[in-house]
Structure formats: structure tokens, C-alpha cells
């Protein structure tokens, strides 16, 4: 009986140094697939390698042997001794392997649950396997089901929908205020990794330009260069208030960098355009009272973290729903795999009836020779459909027994009844 096996490591089981060894080189996927093709006991194979996971999905009749071969292939390609990484590996078989790959594709096994990249990476891995012709009947079906499951999880749960990082939460909020970021101007006050990241994020989502202000102008210039922005001096902040739409602050200043009075003064000149403050500085850089001004919104780091915490909880809850979907689909898939066991018997049954028809037609060749070709055609159709009707019920019966432990008995009985094994 054919088994589906999953061997690999992810961000939980192995440190990055180890994962790097197996995923470092560009062609490591190709080389692994090549190795899979050359190992006899492995029928089909697929190799996934991303920054958070390295794993092989294979099918085999001889699971123990296949596992051993796969591990030694990995050790060879990663150029590390087996003992160094075998304790970091996880292996799943059959139903567990199916569940695992469904969970991976649906991003339930990711470092950040619900992150969207993984599906693309798996699709790429599958495409590679089809190009290298290492994917066959089972993997084809399995991967298509996995994509289907991922899609269901994405549309039926909210797992991918909410932001779980400060910079992404800031982008989402900005979109709730401005609808789109196209043409919006961003002012970055101070420098800090998180603030820079938020600014970069805003830009990739369409923000038109970024202006950077810093107490030391040199630093502003340096940061501006990094993120393709325009540096301005700290004194220019007040005049920038008239221009920009989004302000990110992250300075170490003990006093407010932007005060209520400054902003209030700017409203008229801004013609009431909305202004969105993202205050990442601790202590806060933007006077909190500014939030009470009309069309102006101030979010400090705690507000953003609050949103993220809520989204995290939500993802966890949605995760339960997603696990249910995954399980449901895995059960369906398992049923399909089991039908594979009856396929050879069904094929021999069909072959047998086909060969009987051919033999009998040959025998009656003389009697049939006087018929017109249309009549001959009718006789052939008639015999074929009779034969099909006769074997139809046994086939349905076998398919119905796929889930039963007594399946082998029924298969055996069928082969004997129809004398399938002594024919050639």
C-alpha cells in the first residue's frame, strides 16, 4: 500500500543555521528533486524550501526505506552529517502528512499564522516538481487539494485579514482614513527601525513621497538616502504640517515634538484635510490632545499594539475554524487515496470484459460478415453495454467498501469470482 510521507524541519524544530544549509543554494531544490528521481523506493516527490521551512513530500511503497534514503539525500545536498540534523526533523505519514501539508499551505504552520506568502512558495515548489516530472497521480491530486484548502481557509475565515505588525497596522489604518495612499505625503520625524519600516510600507502601498526630519540634519540625510526620501531640517516641521497627510514620529525627545497649538494653527491652511499621526516614540512625541481636533487622528504605539493584540486573538480564534476545514478536507482526501487500492482490480475487471467481447466477436465473425456496417456497429454497442452493466454493480460495491477493514477480503473474492489473476 502506497504511503504519503513528509520529512522536514521548520522554524520551530530547527535553528536558522541548519535550515540555511539545506536551502542556501539556488539549485538545491533542483538537486533534491534529481535525487528523489534517482531513488527507486520513492515514487513521487516534492521539495519545499523557504526561509522558515525545508521539507520533502514523497510517496512510497516502502516507507522506512524511503525515509532513510530521503534523509541521506538531504544530508548529501546540505553537506551536513545526518546526525547533526536528524533530531530536528519531523516526519509525518499518511493522514498526518496530508493534514500537515494542508496546514502548511493554509499558513497555519507559519511563523506568523495567516501570512500570505507561503501559498505562493508551495505553488512554486509544486510547479518545480511537475517540471522535473517528480510529481505523479497522488501528489498532483494532493497539491491541488492543498491549494483548494488554502483558498477555503482564506475565504471562509478571517485568518489572513488582520494586521499583526506595527507597520502593517499603520498602513491599514491609513487606508481606513484615506481609502488609498496614492498621492499622499509622509513626514518621518526622527529615526528608528520601526518608523522607517512603517514609512517604507506606506510607500510600497502607494504613498507619493516621504520627507525626513531629524534634530541632526546629517542623520536626516542619511535616513532619507536609505528610503529614497527628502531630508528637511527640524525647524521645517511646522511648515511641513501644511503639506503632509501622514506623520510618523519616533524621536527620543522628552517633550512633545508636535504640539496641539501647532496642529490647530495648521488646520485652516490645510483646508481641513485629514491628518494621521503614527507616534512610535516613547515617551510620546505627539501631544495626545491633538486627537480631539476635527479630521485629525493620533495613534500612539500602545494603540497600535492594542489593535495588533486584538488581531492576534482573532487569528487564533479563526485558527480553530481553519483547523476544522483542514481536517474535513484531509478526510476527503484520505478516502480518495483508499479508492486507489481498488483501482487495479477495477481495471482488470474492465480489461477482462473487454477481452471477452473481442474474443466472442471474433468467433462470430462469420455470422456477422453478412451484416451491413451499421448493423455490426449496433451489435458491438449492444454487447459492450451488456458487459458494462454486468460489471457495474461489482465495481460500485467495491468502491463502497473502500473504508472497510475487510476491503482486502472483498478484493480477493472479486478476483477469484471473475478469475482475474489466472488470465494474462
Amino acid at each position: 500500500m502506497i504511503k504519503i510521507i513528509n520529512i522536514g524541519m521548520n522554524h520551530e524544530t530547527a535553528p536558522v543555521e541548519l535550515r540555511e544549509c539545506l536551502a542556501s543554494e539556488q539549485d538545491s531544490v533542483l538537486r533534491t528533486l534529481g535525487a528523489i528521481r534517482n531513488i527507486d523506493c520513492i515514487k513521487e516527490g516534492l521539495f519545499i524550501s523557504t526561509c522558515n521551512r525545508v521539507e520533502a513530500l514523497i510517496t512510497s511503497d516502502n516507507s522506512e526505506e524511503a525515509k532513510k534514503c530521503m534523509i541521506s539525500a538531504m544530508s548529501m545536498i546540505g553537506n551536513i552529517p545526518e546526525d547533526d540534523f536528524s533530531s530536528n526533523l519531523y516526519t509525518y505519514e499518511d493522514m498526518d502528512a496530508v493534514l500537515h501539508i494542508f496546514r502548511v499551505a493554509s499558513s497555519l504552520d507559519s511563523l506568523i499564522t495567516g501570512e500570505p506568502q507561503i501559498l505562493g512558495q508551495i505553488k512554486e515548489a509544486y510547479a518545480e516538481a511537475t517540471r522535473e516530472k517528480t510529481a505523479g497521480v497522488i501528489l498532483n491530486r494532493l497539491m491541488h487539494r492543498a491549494f483548494h484548502v488554502a483558498k477555503r481557509v482564506r475565504t471562509e475565515t478571517f485568518i489572513c485579514e488582520s494586521a499583526v505588525s506595527v507597520s502593517y497596522a499603520a498602513v491599514e489604518l491609513a487606508k481606513k482614513i484615506f481609502y488609498e495612499l496614492k498621492g499622499k505625503k509622509v513626514l518621518l520625524v526622527g529615526a528608528g527601525e520601526m518608523a522607517e519600516l512603517a514609512a517604507r510600507h506606506l510607500k510600497t502601498h502607494g504613498a507619493e513621497s516621504i520627507v525626513v526630519a531629524n534634530r541632526t540634519f546629517d542623520k536626516a540625510v542619511r535616513v532619507a538616502e536609505l528610503i529614497e526620501a527628502k531630508p528637511v531640517s527640524f525647524e521645517e516641521i511646522e511648515s511641513q504640517l501644511y503639506e503632509v497627510d501622514i506623520i510618523i514620529t519616533s524621536t527620543a525627545s522628552k517633550e512633545y515634538v508636535i504640539t496641539y497649538e501647532q496642529v490647530k494653527k495648521s488646520i485652516r491652511k490645510r483646508r481641513n484635510r485629514p491628518l494621521f499621526f503614527i507616534d512610535i516614540g516613547v515617551p510620546r512625541n505627539v501631544q495626545p490632545e491633538i486627537n480631539s481636533l476635527s479630521n485629525i487622528y493620533v495613534y500612539d504605539v500602545d494603540d497600535l499594539k492594542g489593535i495588533i493584540r486584538m488581531n492576534m486573538d482573532r487569528r487564533q480564534q479563526e485558527g480553530i475554524k481553519a483547523e476544522r476545514i483542514v481536517r474535513e478536507e484531509a478526510v476527503k482526501f484520505e478516502k480518495w487515496v483508499k479508492t486507489l487500492a481498488v483501482v487495479p482490480t477495477i481495471i482488470s475487471l474492465k480489461n477482462k470484459s473487454e477481452s471477452i467481447i473481442q474474443a466472442e466477436l471474433k468467433k462470430s465473425n462469420g455470422a456477422l460478415s453478412e451484416m451491413t456496417s451499421e448493423q455490426k456497429e449496433a451489435v458491438i454497442t449492444l454487447t459492450t453495454s451488456i458487459a458494462e452493466k454486468i460489471i457495474n454493480d461489482p465495481i460500485l460495491y467495491l468502491k463502497g467498501k473502500v473504508d472497510r477493514p475487510t476491503l482486502d477480503l472483498y478484493l480477493d473474492m472479486t478476483r477469484k469470482l471473475f478469475n482475474l489473476d489466472q488470465d494474462n
Binding site: 489604518l173 487606508k175 481606513k176 482614513i177 484615506f178 481609502y179 488609498e180 483646508r271 481641513n272 484635510r273 485629514p274 486627537n291 476635527s294 479630521n295 487622528y297 495613534y299 494603540d303 492594542g306 489593535i307 486584538m310
Partner: protein, 279 residues
């Protein structure tokens, strides 16, 4: 026949509204589109009903309050069905349809009285006057609902509450745009409607304007909307202020529509449109 159409459209519109309200909580596209097309079917029934009334009476169906409410409801739904394609904002329907159906239910509680129409009202000019103003009112009603949605969403963002409505409602900019668009077009329609009305008044009554209470209040409403548009264009008002002002303007409009006809009388009021009242 009329009753069947009236109640059929009420039923379909009510059903669609329930679907659209449910859509806020269960974000299923099919749920939305089914409700949308049921609403459309209700609108068609409603249109046939109004057409039939027009055929019978020869006047736009505003002879009494019941008819006027149903006509108002019809115009809101009609404008919404078109706006949906412009703004592609599904949740708008969840606010507009219940509002329109509320008017319709209110209208259904009143008895239907057939009053012969005074001949002076049987004119295409007059029908156009009424229809144009009602379409304008429908747009202004949608502007009003967009303003309410704006204030809800603004409250959520200001107070940092990322609740159900925060996710379901669109961005502030989108709601502000819908408000702007509805008010600008609605204002154009009511202006045009008032002009048609006064031209007709000149023809049949010999004067463009005669300080009838409805005329006075229409002028007040018109001035308020004009002020709103002016503030937006000239003073750069937007967002919250505009939303609040829109709501105030709409209440004045509702008073002109309901209050003036019932409280202040005049030749625009319902009781003076029927024939027997004047005899």
C-alpha cells in the same frame, strides 16, 4: 391590482433589506447580490404601481402623505440601485434599503383614500416638477445616510475601536466622496425641480412665487444645502463638519416634506390637492 403591487413591492423591499442588514454581519457576496436583485424586483413592482397610479389620476403620486412617502421610498431605492454601480460599496445598501423600507412601512400604515385630483394638478409640467424634486430628495437622503456612516466610522477610528463596524464600513474618504457626490447632484436636482415648479406656477397661477409655506421652507432647505456646498467648495470643509451639517440639512428637508404639509398648509399641502376639499 394596485394593492397587490403595493404590498408585493413592500414585501420584496423588506425582504431585501433584511438580507442587506444580515450582510453587515455575514459578509457573503451571494447574500448581497441576491438581496440587491430582490430589491430591484421590488423596485420594478413599485415602479409599475406608481405608473398605474399615474395612469389613473394623471398626477405624480403625491396626492396624500401615504402616496408621497411611498414615492419618496421609491426614489431613494431607485437612486441607490444606480449609485451601487458607481460606488461599488455593498454596505451602503445595508443602510439605504432599511431606511427606504422604513418609509414604506410607515406609508403602509395609513389608509388609502381615492381623492379626485384638481384639474390644475393634471399636467406633465407638474409631474416633472415633483419627480425631479423627489429624485433629488432620494440623493440627499443617501447623502444623509453616508454622513451617518461617516460619523460611525469616524467615532471608531477616533476612539480606537476596531469593532465590527470598523471593518465593515469603508474608509472615511470613500464616505466623504459619496456624501459630496450625493449632495452636489441632489442639490442640482432640487434646484431644477423648483425652477420647473415656478415656471408652471407662472403659467397657471400667474406668478412665479407666492410665499406659500412649502415654497418658503423649500427655499430655506435649498439655502442650507447651498451653504453646505459653499462651505465645502470655498472654505474647504470636509469630513466631520460636513457630515454633521448634512444631517442638519436633511432634518430641515424632512420638516419641509412632512411638517409643512401637515402643520402649515398652503396650496402645496396634501389636503389642498384633492378636489372635494376645496369645494
Amino acid at each position: 391590482m394596485e394593492n397587490v403591487l403595493y404590498y408585493l413591492s413592500l414585501f420584496l423591499e423588506l425582504f431585501a433589506s433584511l438580507g442587506l442588514v444580515l450582510y453587515i454581519f455575514r459578509q457573503k457576496k451571494t447574500l448581497f447580490w441576491c438581496s440587491y436583485w430582490i430589491l430591484f424586483a421590488g423596485f420594478i413592482c413599485h415602479t409599475v404601481f406608481l405608473g398605474y397610479r399615474y395612469y389613473l389620476s394623471g398626477m405624480a403620486p403625491v396626492i396624500h402623505f401615504k402616496a408621497a412617502l411611498s414615492f419618496f421610498s421609491w426614489s431613494i431605492i431607485g437612486v441607490y440601485l444606480i449609485f451601487q454601480f458607481k460606488f461599488k460599496l455593498k454596505v451602503l445598501g445595508s443602510f439605504v434599503a432599511p431606511f427606504a423600507v422604513f418609509l414604506m412601512i410607515f406609508s403602509s400604515t395609513m389608509p388609502w383614500i381615492d381623492i379626485p385630483v384638481r384639474p390644475i394638478f393634471k399636467s406633465l409640467w407638474l409631474t416633472t416638477h415633483i419627480a425631479v424634486i423627489f429624485i433629488g430628495n432620494g440623493m440627499l437622503a443617501i447623502g444623509f445616510l453616508a454622513a451617518i456612516m461617516y460619523l460611525i466610522q469616524e467615532y471608531q477610528i477616533k476612539h480606537k475601536r476596531a469593532g465590527t463596524f470598523y471593518e465593515r464600513l469603508p474608509s472615511l474618504a470613500t464616505l466623504d466622496t459619496i456624501n459630496n457626490y450625493s449632495i452636489a447632484y441632489g442639490f442640482a436636482f432640487i434646484s431644477f425641480g423648483i425652477i420647473i415648479g415656478s415656471i408652471y406656477a407662472q403659467q397657471v397661477l400667474g406668478t412665479y412665487w407666492q410665499w406659500d409655506p412649502k415654497e418658503v421652507w423649500s427655499l430655506i432647505t435649498w439655502l442650507f444645502y447651498a451653504a453646505l456646498l459653499h462651505q465645502r467648495l470655498a472654505a474647504g470643509w470636509q469630513g466631520r463638519k460636513v457630515a454633521i451639517m448634512t444631517i442638519i440639512c436633511f432634518f430641515i428637508l424632512v420638516f419641509t416634506f412632512v411638517g409643512v404639509s401637515h402643520l402649515l398648509g398652503g396650496y402645496h399641502s396634501f389636503r389642498n390637492m384633492g378636489l372635494q376639499e376645496t369645494i
